[in-house]
């Protein structure tokens, strides 16, 4: 089982490593958006004495640039090919394999995320560091917490996309569902601005009531040292809960497939 | 001449990787000086192995690609410069690509094409009726294209390419991947089209049965050059393909038999295979019957597969 997992992760890594030009194009795009968001947030911070919900300038810059890098790592905007395989019926082949497709997809996605860390995470960060003053964590343990947090963010993001993909068993066309997911997860995860800018009730709801904050806001707050292990606990809860949900929904879907013959 | 091309050439630059980072640029001629003329109403088979330059030629004839050198005229027009004018006068089917609307029923795609090509309603209806009849479209005309089988889709594609009454029809591997029945339907349809004689057809195919059934004239291209242009018979004659006689005998083969006009290819037990050297089969059979007692006998026509395989291997 373990060797299979590594093999799958390796395959995911290598598959994305072949998309070299797309990687370069993606880094460029992320960097442009990094500039855009960073200037806007810094201008907002400069215009108010109270600061942006307690974030300092360097913290905001770090928030934006690391956020742009994490976008490609968590990859919540790109759907898994699960839905296509459901629609084409290829999913039956996946279900016949000795490993549950949920794990196959998860390990492949972790491999992909690993490649993204080395390229699409690192490069915009360098660009941001050259153009802006970034926040350097004061404690060494922060780096460890952040690393764990990113892994959990990838798992949470994966499980959400897997659930979206599973809806293809019931809906002919999942474009609508994926679109809603893309935008809710964008705004809810703090991609456009830190959730702390929202009214308390709303930001609390997004943190605890949805998995969105676990995707970006959580790891980013750990990195700028506005939160610690409690964020990891929250992420872990969502990762486990969502993977469990994936299993349940998939079992239902398979039952439907068996009964109706696809 | 409805199609004339002379000295047609297409060069592509390819970057080939040398080592880790270095790349070398190479110029490859996909089509390397092709001369081709097609008379109005002719059905031409344009064949060659993969990568020989068939599709590239077709793209240059239809105005999709600009030739690197050479002259082309289709319907008297220069294809790239007069693309939209030419588009109304030709029809094209790419076996691997669809020109139909994926989510719409076939019938609606046809209606749409009528507007795109601005075909008078009566002409459109008449052509559609004929195609519906000959290709049996009625049963799936209301089905969205994405739900059609490959064979059904190809019949739809053929119809779509003919609805504006093109003078020339270009077909790039129209029978690729089709089941036997659909292949037959497509072939019969093209045969009928050829009989009527008002549409010139250029057909590229890997299916040699297509060629035997349909094409009186064959142009064979290899490595971007024309290696044969003529009838199928001329191809046989040129590459020495011969008819063979397979005879089952009632006695062992006497090694000393001398048959004028034939040579022995193989002897397996009491079965002997002979190759004819141009003489009629009758004389050889008569001589054979005199020499040994015959139980059974069959004459095989030369197989185009053999000729083409030999041609591709450049024997």
């Amino acid at each position: 089982m373990l060797s299979a997992s590594w093999a799958l992760a390796g395959a995911g890594f290598r598959r994305y490593a072949t998309y070299r030009q797309a990687t370069v194009a993606g880094i460029f795009t992320n960097s442009v958006f990094g500039f855009l968001r960073c200037y806007v947030l810094l201008a907002v911070a400069a215009g108010t004495a109270a600061g942006v919900a307690g974030y300092t300038g360097p913290q905001l810059a770090t928030y934006v640039w690391v956020g742009q890098g994490m976008l490609a790592v968590v990859n919540s905007w790109t759907m898994l090919d699960l839905a296509d395989r459901v629609r084409s019926g290829d999913i039956t082949a996946d279900l016949l394999r000795p490993i549950d497709p949920l794990w196959t997809y998860l390990w492949t996605d972790l491999g992909r995320a690993g490649f993204a860390m080395l390229t699409r995470f690192a490069a915009p960060l360098v660009v941001g560091a050259l153009a802006f003053e970034l926040y350097a964590p004061a404690h060494a343990v922060t780096y460890v917490l952040f690393a764990v947090s990113i892994v959990l963010a990838v798992v949470v993001g994966f499980a959400c996309r897997y659930l979206v993909g599973l809806t293809a068993f019931w809906l002919l066309d999942i474009r609508g569902v994926s679109m809603i997911w893309v935008f809710l997860s964008g705004v809810g995860s703090g991609l456009y601005f830190p959730l702390a800018l929202l009214p308390d009730w709303l930001s609390t709801f997004l943190w605890i009531g949805t998995p969105f904050a676990s995707l970006l806001q959580g790891p980013l707050d750990i990195l700028v040292e506005r939160g610690g292990p409690e964020i990891l606990a929250l992420q872990l809860f969502w990762a486990v809960a969502l993977l469990w949900a994936c299993r349940v929904v998939q079992a239902r879907a398979v039952a439907k497939l068996v009964i109706q013959g696809g | 001449m409805i199609i004339s091309a002379s000295g047609l050439r297409k060069d592509f630059t390819v970057n080939r990787k040398v080592g880790r980072l270095r790349r070398e640029r190479h110029v490859v001629s996909a089509v390397d000086g092709v001369d081709l003329t097609v008379r109005r109403g002719e059905l031409l088979g344009y064949i060659g192995p993969n990568g020989a330059g068939k599709s590239t030629t077709l793209k240059m004839l239809t105005g999709v690609l600009t030739p690197s050198a050479g002259e082309v005229r289709v319907c008297g027009l220069e294809p790239v410069a007069k693309r939209t004018t030419l588009a109304r006068r030709i029809g094209v089917v790419f076996g691997q690509r669809s020109q139909l609307w994926w989510d719409l029923p076939l019938a609606e795609s046809f209606d749409l094409l009528r507007h795109i090509y601005q075909v008078p309603a009566a002409d459109h209806a008449a052509r559609l009726a004929r195609c519906t009849d000959l290709l049996g479209l009625a049963e799936f005309a209301r089905t969205p294209v994405r739900q059609l089988s490959l064979g059904q889709r190809m019949r739809g594609e053929l119809t779509a390419a003919l609805l504006h009454g093109p003078e020339v029809l270009f077909l790039d591997e129209p029978t690729i991947g089709l089941d036997v029945l659909s292949k037959q339907a497509v072939r019969e349809f093209l045969g009928e089209l050829d009989q009527r004689g008002d549409t010139t057809v250029v057909l590229t195919t890997h299916d040699l049965a297509d060629i035997e059934k349909l094409c009186k004239r064959l142009v064979v291209i290899d490595h971007g050059r024309v290696v044969h242009d003529g009838t199928l018979d001329a191809l046989h004659a040129r590459y020495g393909s011969r008819r063979t006689i397979v005879a089952d005998l009632d006695a062992d083969w006497p090694a000393d038999v001398c048959l004028p006009g034939a040579s022995v290819v193989s002897v397996e037990g009491r079965r002997v295979t002979l190759e004819l050297n141009g003489t009629t089969a009758g004389e050889v059979v008569a001589a054979l019957a005199k020499a040994v007692p015959l139980r059974d006998l069959s004459v095989r026509e030369p197989q185009i597969e053999d000729v083409v395989a030999r041609l591709y291997r450049r024997d």
Binding site: F33, V40 | I116
Partner: protein, 261 residues
């Protein structure tokens, strides 16, 4: 003719009715979220880049409206990448119509109508509550500016899509200029700084989409020092952008025809 292609495309898109409704609502929500983002940031500081509430609202809705219209009409140009990769672009060249208009008509996405209508309504509301000293020139410009903005964004969509003729693997790179341009022009140019502002506002011209027209409408001089007459020039830059986009497209098609896919 294009009308028939468009209608067919609308029919085929509306086939999955449920999904279509979700998409229309979704795109309206997205647009709403964009505006909500501006609102949230505004509420933190009480102003953005030295501009007050009605001014920021006008600027943002003008940019959103122009973008939504451009996205509706030519946003599908980015499908060109798939057409070039799969070789399907050949089939467009085989029909007796302009390849660009076919590409746009065949991929027309009616779901984007919701967003364009919403953008328009919000822009009108913003105009109504903004402190504008109405005269004929301003009235004309209030109508002309979103049109010019749409042409401007549309030019970037088309020019961006043509990258695929040379570089099929370009991925979402063109988005940096289309969606990036939208994000840039949704805020006053005063919020940006350094070479980045020079490139986006002046060299690429995104300052002309909403920032300068808003200054002209509310009658403010540019804090960044642009001469007053330049505030009225967004139609000119739109035409220049359109001409360049057309040039890119023609060059791209010529390149495609000499190299194939």
């Amino acid at each position: 003719m294009y009308g028939h292609v468009l209608r067919a495309q609308i029919r085929s898109q509306t086939q999955y009715r449920m999904s279509f409704v979700v998409e229309v609502i979704g795109s309206v929500v997205i647009n709403g979220l964009d505006l909500a983002t501006v609102f949230v940031l505004f509420s933190v500081a009480g102003s953005l880049g030295g501009f007050g509430g009605t001014e920021v609202l006008l600027l943002t809705t003008l940019s959103a409206c122009a973008f939504a219209v451009a996205d509706l009409v030519v946003g599908n140009a980015d499908k060109l990448r798939d057409y070039v990769r799969t070789g399907l672009f050949d089939t467009l060249l085989l029909r007796p119509l302009s390849a660009l208009w076919q590409l746009l008509a065949v991929n027309f996405a009616p779901r984007r109508v919701g967003r364009a209508v919403q953008g328009l309504v919000l822009y009108v509301v913003a105009l109504a509550i903004a402190d504008i000293d109405w005269d004929l020139a301003r009235a004309v410009y209030a109508v002309g500016a979103p049109v010019a903005g749409a042409v401007f964004f549309g030019s970037f969509f088309i020019a961006g899509s043509t990258v695929a003729f040379w570089w099929v693997e370009s991925g979402e790179m063109a988005n940096a200029f289309t969606y990036g341009g939208k994000d840039f022009s949704a805020y006053p140019s005063t919020m940006y700084d350094g070479w980045f502002r020079t490139v986006f506002a002046s060299a690429l011209g995104f300052g002309f989409v909403a920032y300068l027209p808003t200054l002209a409408l509310v009658g403010r001089a540019d804090p960044l020092g642009a001469p007053d007459w330049l505030r009225w020039c967004s139609p000119v830059t739109a035409l220049i952008a359109a001409a360049l986009a057309a040039l890119f497209w023609r060059t791209g098609v010529r390149h495609y025809r000499s190299t194939g896919s």
